[in-house]
Structures are given as C-alpha cells and as structure tokens.
C-alpha cells in the first residue's frame, strides 16, 4: 500500500514538474563569451528554444576563471541559481571532484551518432559521463603578413624553422618577436602540452623521451623569444600581436575577433601549427555542456543540451561565429573575413589531442610550470629537473586517484 501511494505521488510530481517546466519556467545558462558571441546567442540560439518550450532563458556571463568558484559557492550554500553551464574544458576535474554536476550517463542517448565520438570520450570520469560536447576549440598560430610575406620570412613549419625564425627576427629587431604563453599558469601548461605531444611524449609521464626533447627545445628557443612572453596569455597575446610587439604567436581563435575586428589589423592571419619530431600536435580545448546537480530545471536543461548539440544549432554556430562544430553533418559557410582562420582551425583540430581526463590535472599544471621556470627560464639541466618533478608528480597523482 505504502509503495503504491509513493509511486502515484512520484508520478504526479514528475508530471507536475513537466507541466510547470513547459509553462513559463526560466532556464539559467552561464557561459564565458564575448559580446559578439552573446549577441548571436540572444538573437539566433535562444529564441527558437524559448518559443518551442514556452520558457524564458536567463543568460549570465561568468568568466572561465571564475566559474568554479561561483558554482562552488552556490552549491555549498544550497542556492544553485544556474541550471546549465557552457564550461571551458581547461580543467574539468574539480567540477567532478566537488560534485557540482549532474551525472549524465543515463542521458547518453541525447548525443546523436553524427557527433564526433572522440569528442565524447574524454568527458567520462570514473566511468560516468559528466559532460556533453559543446564545441571543440584549438589554438592557431597567428602571424603578421607584413613580415611573413614569403620573401622576408616564411611561416615556420617545423621546430627547427621556428628556432631559425626566432633567431633571425631577434637579430633584425634587437628584441624577440615570437612568444609562447609564459605566464606560468594554465596558459603555459596548454602550450607545453602541445610541444610535449609533438615530440611524442606524454605529459603525465613527464620525463619520457618526448618531454625531454620538448623542454630542451624550449630551453633553446627561450633566449630568442620576446620579453613579453612572461606576460603573454590568451588575452594579452592579442594586444601584442596587434601592436606589432609580436609577429608570430599561438593563441585561441578568439584572437581573430580582437585583432581583426576590434583592432582592425587585417594584416594578421593564421595557420594551423608547426611540426615537432613526432609530427604536428595541438591541444583540443573548447566548451562542454554541464548541468548542475542541484538545479531546479534539470528537464529543461537537458532539453537545451540536446538542442545545442543538434544539427541546426551547430550549423548556425559555424555560419554565425565560425565555431568548429561537434558533428560531421554541420556544414556551413563561414563569414568571409573568417575563412582563412576557420581553415586553420579545422586543420589544427585534425592534429588535436586531448589532455588526460584525470583528477589531478592541477598537479600536472603545477609541475609543468615549475619545470618551465626552472628549465626554460632559468636554464637548469633538463634531465635531472624533469626526473625530480616526474617523481613528485607521480606521487601526487597516485594520492589523488
């Protein structure tokens, strides 16, 4: 008897939930986007969904670096006011660790078969699917066409060429004109990952042959880099490229908005990347979709996730924003001024590798940055430093498993 009452109540409640969900509910979505990206969201992405589901979308901008803190504060106070987050995939482990998100394993069917399977695979933690793919992203190499015009300089396709270019530019201009992200935080880790992978190494092993080659190369390259390397992150690199402090640097596609559209530097273009000893390698970043655990609108949020991953939406994102799509059937034409960049992005994605989806990524970041400082900036011995840090890293990773 008791069970029947309970079951009926459950049925009633869930149908009530569905009714309330589709009549004037508000879905709160958080993302870290630029103004032009929000414009497209508000004008093209949200309205059809709002009409279809008869609800309202409240969009909130939370910068990528602040999202974890804000979600955690809300979760701990039990006042979760965000339902769905378009999350930067730089470091997803803490969100899983702090149990902020809904387990999506049973909603796997929401992912269409056309969605690239390799995008989904790194979204599983401890056997549970915690995220949906949102959009992949990758860094591209920006270059100044006034300098890299084929006669004065040609864009470097290999590490050796890169070193040559850096040397020649420094000799010509008395300061380095090439930079890597040297701010000793997540930015640095991302680029070091690319170097290590391009040398055939594994970042979690840290002292294998590939890693040693990568760090040795960076150590050789550093003296010829711009002094602004230590201030170059995903944001300031755009400024340096725009004002000709840098002629060559890798950065995220967001740079094209800032450099070409805002700063009107049409002489800056991009190509995919250079090749290391083991070929070309890039790191796949991007955004993933996460649904908060304590959200009050989970049904609606799941529907939006499916909507975002649909062919219509992904095609729209390609044509309006030049975002690479997650599925193979989302073909569209990018605005003209973006076409060169888009080509570079798609090519760079082909060489893309994922960072390991481990719990201790922040430990990896710490040791990568320590090694960068000791080896690349201070010039210490590569082998011994990497051995020490590899050991420490392994210890920490084991502990956090």
């Amino acid at each position: 008897m008791h069970h029947m009452v309970r079951a009926t109540l459950g049925l009633l409640l869930s149908s009530l939930a569905m009714v309330t969900c589709s009549s004037g509910e508000t879905l709160s979505i958080a993302a870290s986007l630029g103004e032009n990206e929000w414009k497209v969201m508000r004008e093209h992405v949200f309205p059809p969904f709002e009409a279809r589901e008869n609800c309202r979308i409240r969009a909130v901008n939370i910068e990528a670096g602040d999202t974890l803190k804000k979600l955690e504060v809300m979760h701990r106070a039990n006042r979760m006011s965000i339902d769905l987050v378009l999350l930067d995939n730089m470091n997803l482990a803490p969100y899983v660790e702090k149990r902020l998100l809904l387990d999506l394993t049973k909603y796997q069917a929401l992912i269409d078969p056309e969605v690239d399977a390799s995008l989904v695979q790194p979204l599983t933690f401890h056997g549970q699917l915690m995220f949906f793919p949102g959009r992949p992203n990758v860094q591209i190499t920006y270059y100044n066409t006034d300098v890299f015009n084929g006669t004065t300089q040609t864009i470097p396709e290999t590490w050796d060429a890169l070193l040559e270019v850096a040397k020649q530019l420094k000799a010509a201009y008395k300061v380095g004109k090439v930079a890597v992200h040297g701010t000793l935080d997540g930015n640095t880790t991302a680029q070091v990952f690319e170097f290590i992978t391009a040398a055939g190494g594994k970042i979690t092993t840290f002292n294998d042959a590939g890693s040693i080659k990568a760090f040795t190369f960076l150590q050789q390259l550093y003296p010829y880099l711009s002094p602004e390397t230590k201030k170059a992150n995903w944001n300031t690199t755009n400024k340096f490229l725009s004002e000709d402090t840098l002629f060559l640097a890798r950065n995220w596609p967001v740079g094209m908005q800032v450099i070409v559209q805002q700063n009107q530097k049409t002489n800056i273009k991009a190509y995919a990347t250079w090749a290391g000893p083991a070929g070309r390698a890039t790191m796949i970043g991007g955004d993933v979709i996460a649904i908060t655990k304590r959200s009050s609108n989970q049904e609606l949020a799941l529907k939006f996730a499916g909507y975002f991953m649909s062919r219509e939406m992904q095609t729209l994102l390609v044509t309006e924003l030049g975002w690479p799509p997650i599925r193979s059937d989302a073909l569209g034409s990018v605005p003209e001024w973006q076409q060169g960049f888009f080509k570079a992005i798609m090519e760079a994605l082909r060489y893309g590798h994922y960072r390991p989806a481990i719990m201790g990524w922040s430990a990896v970041e710490k040791y990568v940055n320590l090694a960068f400082k000791d080896i690349v900036i201070d010039g210490r011995d590569v082998q011994t430093t990497l051995d020490t840090y590899a050991r420490d890293l392994q210890e920490e990773l084991d502990w956090l498993k």
Partner: protein, 334 residues
C-alpha cells in the same frame, strides 16, 4: 554590573563593529589558520571525502526512490570508511609540512624578499612624497583647490583599470619607453621593465604609489589641519627656520596620524596583488600574495592558508615593531 551601568553607552557603541568583525573576518581567519597546519595531501583528500559525504547525505534526503536511496547509502558507507582510513594515514593530524615546504621553496623565499622590498621601498617613497604634497597643500596659494582635486583623482580609478593603464605605460613598446627613446635615453633595445629584480620592484612601487598617494595625502592633510593654529602662532614667534620647526613641532604633533597612515598603508602594501600580477607576471616577480592566490586556484587550500598566515605574521611583526618604537618614543618624550 556597575561597569555595565556606567559604560552602557560605550558598550552599545562598540558592539555592532565588533560583532561584525568577529563574525565575518576573525572566524574565517581562524579557520584558515587551522587549515594551514594540516598536511596538504591529507587536506585535499579530506576535503574531497568530506564534501562527498555531505553531498550524499543531502542526496539521500532528497532521493526520489528507494533504489537510489540504497545506492547512495552504500556510497555513504564507502566514503565513511575511506575517511576513517584517511585518519589513520601518516599524514593526519597537526603538521608543519606546509610551512616546511614554503620556507624551502626557492621561489617563495624570493617572494618574501620581493614583498618586503616593495613594501618598505613603497612606504618610504609614499611617505616622503605624500608629506611634501600635504605640506604644500596646507598653505594657501592660487589654484590650491584645483591642485588638490588633481592629487585626489587616482583614488577613483579601480585597481584593475589602473593596473591595465600601467601595463600600457610599462610594456616594452609602451608609453614610458616611448618617452625615454624620444628623450634619447634609450639605446637600441627598449627596457624590459618586467624582467625582475630591482627594476620590476621599482615599477611596481611606482605604479602602486601613483594609485595610493591621494589617500596618504588626505590623511596627512587631516593631520596637519588638526594642529591648532595656536601652536603655529606660538612657534612662529621664536623665529627659527621653518625646516627646524617642521621636524620639532609639526612632525611630533602629527605622530598619531602618521602612525595610522603608515600602518594602514603597510597592511595593504604587504598584500599587494593585482598590480604585480598584471605588470610583471609571477615568472620574475613572485610575491607572497600572488603565491597564495595561485595555490588557492589549484585547490591547494592548506598550502595557500599557510602562505597567507606567513604574510599575516610578517605584517604583525612589522606593525608591532613599529608600534613598540612609537610607544617607547612617546614615553621618552613625555
């Protein structure tokens, strides 16, 4: 009881301030202090397991059906067992490992040096310049109100904005290098202000002073104007040179204001954080506050707490030493 009766007004006046401060700052500081004595490895694991346990308990209470509830209860039992195992691990209990790690870290030691250098250099510069400006502003002259407003403007600019403007000035292709090269003071290579060492310390000190000067000027002006005119008149009678009068009459009378201004500034100067981060980057110019922040961002809360505690310790030592000197000075003069 009689104490309360006579001093009821005073107690009422003090209560709101202290209730607020104890509740919202002392308690978090104390909990951070406690955290700093927990080994980082233990602390991280404990955090994960404890919040997991709290979360599962919440889920159990809100579980939609029996089956899920049982699954949660199983998880809860597992977590509790893991917690118990953790308590018996060698890392449990009070530990000084965080402090040991910090004091043996090369870049943390450098951070301590940088922090001290920036603060002491900054304080001296700010004191001298602010006092001079305050003295000038306490005199009547044409355009005084205008100049006073100019001096106070940097106060209104948010730190992030002033930090960014400063990067435009101190970048290698920034405005300062441009001025220097037009004056012919620059060679072929522009100055890399963020290279570390005294150059970067100087850059941070300058940028900070720019932002903070108005505050000190204000405090010194208030102090100067609190000196009754009668004192000024009396000291003018004996005809000794104004510099002498400044050091023997004005300065001592301003002591409470100076003490207050310097200590207030010192506390903020030791904690300076956004400015060096944006201007110089942590690669060359680490500071204790940037250290605390980066460890916090990596979820190493215990290490971050230890670093913050060390900073607080340094500030306290400085302040107490200063107060001691001032108090002793007052006794010998009284």
């Amino acid at each position: 009881m009689r104490f309360v009766k006579t001093y009821w007004l005073e107690m009422l006046m003090v209560l709101p301030l202290f209730a607020y401060i104890i509740g919202f700052t002392l308690l978090p500081i104390l909990s951070n202090l406690k955290e700093s004595f927990v080994d980082q490895r233990f602390g991280r694991r404990y955090d994960i397991l404890a919040s997991k346990r709290a979360d599962i308990t919440y889920d159990i209470a809100h579980a939609p059906d029996n089956e899920e509830q049982r699954a949660y209860e199983k998880e809860l039992a597992e977590t509790t067992r893991a917690l118990e195992r953790l308590q018996h691990s060698p890392y449990a209990g009070v530990s000084l490992s965080n402090y040991h790690k910090l004091f043996t870290d090369r870049s943390f030691v450098k951070a301590m040096f940088n922090t001290l250098a920036i603060t002491l250099l900054g304080l001296s510069l700010q004191f001298v310049v602010a006092m001079s400006i305050a003295l000038v502003l306490s005199q009547p002259f044409r355009g005084k109100g205008f100049f006073r407003t100019i001096v106070l403007t940097p106060l209104g600019i948010p730190t992030i904005v002033s930090a960014t403007i400063m990067t435009y000035i101190f970048d290698t292709s920034g405005y300062l290098n441009e001025v220097l090269s037009r004056l012919g003071l620059l060679g072929e290579v522009p100055i890399d202000w963020a290279q570390g060492g005294w150059l970067s310390i100087g850059m941070v000190v300058f940028a900070d002073t720019w932002k903070v000067l108005p505050l000190m000027v204000l405090l010194f002006i208030a102090g100067l104007e609190a000196i009754p005119h009668s004192v000024h008149e009396a000291s003018q009678i004996d005809g000794s040179p104004p510099i002498y009068k400044f050091f023997t009459v004005t300065l001592p009378l301003m002591k409470p204001y100076i003490t207050m201004a310097l200590i207030l500034r010192a506390i903020d100067a030791f904690r300076i954080f956004e400015l060096p981060l944006i201007l110089a980057g942590t690669a060359t110019t680490p500071l204790i506050s940037t250290f605390t922040y980066s460890e916090y961002a990596r979820q190493n809360y215990n290490l971050s707490a230890a670093s913050g505690t060390i900073l607080m310790g340094i500030i306290l030592i400085f302040v107490f030493t200063y107060l001691y000197i001032v108090a002793r000075d007052r006794e010998t003069n009284a």
